[in-house]
Symmetry: C2
Subunit: 223 residues, 2 copies
Amino acid sequence: MDSIFNYEHPFVCTDAVVFSIKTQEPDSYRKLPDTSLRVLLYKRDTDPSQNKWCLPGGFLNIDELPEDNICRKLSVKAEVDKCWLEQLYTFCDLNRDPRARVISIAYLGLMNEAEAMKYEGKATWFDVHAISEADLAFDHYSIIQTALERLRSKILYTNIIFNLLPEEFTLTQLQNVYETILGKKDQAANFRRKIIDLVQETDRYTSDKGHRPAKLYTKKEVY
Amino acid sequence: MDSIFNYEHPFVCTDAVVFSIKTQEPDSYRKLPDTSLRVLLYKRDTDPSQNKWCLPGGFLNIDELPEDNICRKLSVKAEVDKCWLEQLYTFCDLNRDPRARVISIAYLGLMNEAEAMKYEGKATWFDVHAISEADLAFDHYSIIQTALERLRSKILYTNIIFNLLPEEFTLTQLQNVYETILGKKDQAANFRRKIIDLVQETDRYTSDKGHRPAKLYTKKEVY
DNA sequence: CCAAAAGTGTTTTCCATACACCCATGC
DNA sequence: GCATGGGTGTATGGAAAACACTTTTGG
């Protein structure tokens, strides 16, 4: 081995901030369901940060890609791998891990509600507004905040939002997801005009009760 | 040391894509100078990729921040450290370095023309349109392309462009830099209206010859 | 006078917003 | 009929683009 490689060098790990949308069923019929944005966390069972919550991820093997590492970690803990992933940021603070110098390549992940449900019991989905820095391991709270900012900005100029939705959805569902993430309301008429070029209508309809059926849409592939 | 740390793990290096603007002096007076966007490259003197051009950067020490590593590398090779830096992306391909598994935390750097001149002789400034993939070491060509895309998109919604300009500048200079980076022309009247909120006028003027003097502006600090 | 670059004013087009209204369903 | 949510049309204000024009300098 070359001499430059004979030195103590930083460890490398991955962390994934996986978001999903939770639809709260309405109390009675005739009421729009509430939605919330949630993040996937595991409880650490060893020191350091024992009993604190942490992001899925782990140490990167020497012959492994970060995306594969994350998928492997997610698959081990559930039987799922339908998760969209994109590199978020690499966190390098000197003391982010008390054991050693560990840099973390963090990813932003998005998963639809059906996939997210498969994790129930094996991990915990936290409402992003309900997590506090004190409950989280390492610097994972600030990683989540960075991911949230990225998500909020990217849904304005990309079509990543469809990774949070089922294959077919109504425009009201889509609008709810936007508003849940951005935290502000829009008027349905204006919202529709804004996103109509991103979606493809189908000939199917919902069959909810107590009001007019809603047309179902799918993601439009844009080139 | 904990047992998880007894394994062969990837090496970590940094790479900085440092851009600057070169103003070509006009042939005679009475002619606007041409500008070009340039990137700082060093010639490698050892294998692998001997005699190819590479980005400034190097292996990250175990107790070192990536930004400090890059500043150190830049300082060693010139006496300068006035360079704005922002993390770009972490490149992780398995075979990007033939010697070993090396992940690279890449940074986007911006430097004004006066600072850039101090590097002349110690490194080479290449016009971004003049570099070819074959002349570059490792995956540095694709790192540069990623940096270019990031630069082009970020000058549209941030004020990082002022890092490429001197303290005081004319609106025409500013417009030239925008147009050089984006590769498309704009009308002076419209351009001024678009950026007027980002700049602060001074009471000083240029004293070029053969035409009306131009007012000098500085960056406006926005809160 | 002219050439060159700095700088301004006006019109037109487009798009985001606001708001009023109609439609389809279950009860 | 009514309540509820789905869906459309139109007016308005402001930004962006296109274009014509004036100003200031040196030669």
